[in-house]
């Protein structure tokens, strides 16, 4: 079980408002690129989310250190790539909000597939597509190009699950979205390392 966050840190939420929703002018292009999701109020959607414990570092085995032994990419390695992604509205990682969990990462190195399920903190979260896009971009940038990366919402955890999944799976719309400099900037902020 986790603890409650009592106050969001205004420094990491854009314009002091709800990350994306509260800044329609700045993200005009973004609103039109991801119309199903980038509309909403100017309030923090989930002001006191549950906070979860971060997991420890990966246990390094003798085999991992053996340079001659080919390490396959596994669930834990992919989880490590995405667990520190920043939430768009809270000064917390996706792991701390339980948006991503290691058990919802499935890697098959032999078949070059990665499937990640993520769980929005509330069923009407308008940030779901942006979070999914950040996970997708992080994996596309980090993994070898042979990997097919599928990012989905954990079944039953979001009101627009089908629409968000469809948009994230459409590589043409993802490519077009990432040519939008405003949206790319927001994604890069989610992917940046917090000091």
């Amino acid at each position: 079980m986790g603890t409650r966050l009592t106050r969001a840190n205004p420094e990491v939420s854009y314009n002091g408002n709800c990350g994306v929703c509260g800044s329609r002018e700045l993200y005009g292009g973004l609103l039109s690129l991801w119309p199903e999701d980038m509309v909403g109020g100017s309030q923090l959607e989930n002001a006191n989310p549950l906070i979860y414990q971060r997991s420890g570092d990966r246990q390094v085995t003798a085999q991992d250190e053996d340079e001659d032994f080919p390490d396959k990419i596994d669930d834990r390695e992919v989880f490590d790539l995405i667990r520190s992604i920043n939430d768009p509205e809270h000064p917390l990682s996706l792991e701390e909000l339980n948006v991503v969990e290691q058990v919802r990462v499935k890697v098959n190195d032999d078949q070059s597939t990665v499937a990640v399920e993520f769980t929005p903190t509330i069923p009407h979260c308008s940030m779901a597509t942006l979070i999914g896009l950040s996970i997708k971009v992080k994996l596309l940038r980090s993994l070898p190009e042979r990997f097919k990366v599928d990012v989905h919402i954990t079944p039953g955890t979001h009101a627009s699950e089908h629409a968000v999944n469809k948009q994230l799976a459409d590589k043409e719309r993802v490519a077009a979205a990432l040519e939008n400099s405003h949206l790319l900037e927001v994604v890069n902020q989610c992917l940046s390392t917090r000091s």
Binding site: S32, E145, K148, K166, A169, D170, E172, R173, A175, A176
Partner: protein, 337 residues
């Protein structure tokens, strides 16, 4: 089975970027490619090798998603994420951008020329399909904006010999349009796919249409005219289109493109599982309920998603494909007896 499809050559067409689409000119002497690097490249054969003859890099500010040759082969149209369509005129070996078509609200996804060469269609994520008329002075005028789709329109393709236009959409449907009293109207909606329809191809007669989808299937649709002997009901004077075959279980990911050879009748698909597959209609199957067999399956045709496959217009069995890995591949397909 793999022996029936042989790799002829591989070209690094759009390095460090996607190669989105390919188009042969009508005589098959030139192949145009376009990609995420915002360029269009024109490829031609010298001796046994394919070389890049021209690079068209000044037209677009963003990804060039698709290209299409005019039926005369003197013009090339390019659809871009920058919301414009450029028309390029061929002058000997060089190409000059003569017109930029503006009007779509956001990314233009596809462009296609009517068989007469007098009409051009474009479609966009703004959910609309535009029909443009071309006059003798190379002036383009939008004659219709069709808003029948409820989502992003992925592709537009004209019928091979009539002024009938087909469009495929993220709303899972295919729509057909024809001219009626100086305006264009939607005359049929083809429902059946369970996800985005990415592409479509008419057969040589234009009486059949193949569509491919994110639902991992290919569907074959047949046109039934009013009063047809098969008892398919038509409303008014418009033909009905009915799905007569679904190719399911062959593709493991999204099917991004399909091409139907007008020379041999072979169907080829481009898939997100990196494979190219070729299907032939079984000779003894009922034309009203045809069956198709997989006759070639090139599992790792490219190292990433295959975005486009296209049969050569003149040489039977010659095939070009392109991929997210930025490469073009040329293949020779040999039908097994």
């Amino acid at each position: 089975m793999k022996d029936s499809l042989t790799l002829l050559s591989r070209l690094s067409a759009h390095p460090d970027s996607r190669c989105w689409f390919l188009a042969w000119n009508p005589t098959g002497t030139l192949l145009a490619s376009c990609g995420g690097d915002r360029t269009i490249k024109i490829w031609g054969k010298e001796g046994d090798t394919w070389i890049c003859k021209s690079v068209l890099s000044e037209g677009h500010q963003r990804t060039v998603r698709k290209v299409a040759w005019s039926p005369c082969g003197n013009y090339l149209a390019s659809a871009s994420f920058d919301a414009t369509t450029c028309i390029w005129k061929k002058k000997q070996t060089q190409f000059e951008c003569v017109t930029t078509l503006e009007g779509h609200e956001n990314e233009v996804k596809s462009v296609s020329w009517a068989p007469s060469g007098n009409l051009l269609a474009t479609c966009s994520r703004d959910k609309s399909v535009w029909v443009w008329e071309v006059d003798e002075e190379d002036e383009y005028e939008c004659v219709s904006v069709l808003n029948s789709h409820t989502q992003d329109v992925k592709n537009v393709v004209w019928h091979p010999n009539q002024e009938l236009l087909a469009s495929a959409s993220y709303d899972d449907t295919v729509k057909l349009y024809r001219e009626e009293e100086d305006d264009w109207v939607c005359c049929a909606t083809l429902e059946g796919h369970e996800s985005t329809v990415w592409s479509l191809a008419f057969d040589k007669s234009g009486e059949r249409l193949a569509t491919c989808s994110d639902d991992k299937t290919v569907r074959i649709w047949c046109q039934y005219k009013p009063g047809n002997e098969h008892g398919v009901v038509c409303s008014g004077s418009d033909p009905s289109w009915k799905c007569i075959c679904t190719l399911s279980g062959f593709h493991t990911r999204t099917v991004y493109d399909v091409s139907w050879s007008h020379l041999t009748g072979s169907l080829v698909t481009a898939c997100g599982d990196d494979a190219i597959r070729i299907f032939e209609e079984d000779a003894c199957s009922d034309p009203q309920q045809p069956s198709f067999s997989l006759t070639a399956h090139m599992a790792r045709a490219h190292s990433q998603d295959v975005n486009c496959v296209v049969w050569h217009p003149k040489e039977a069995g010659l095939l070009a494909s392109c991929s997210d890995d930025g490469e073009i591949a040329l293949w020779q397909y040999q039908k097994l007896e």
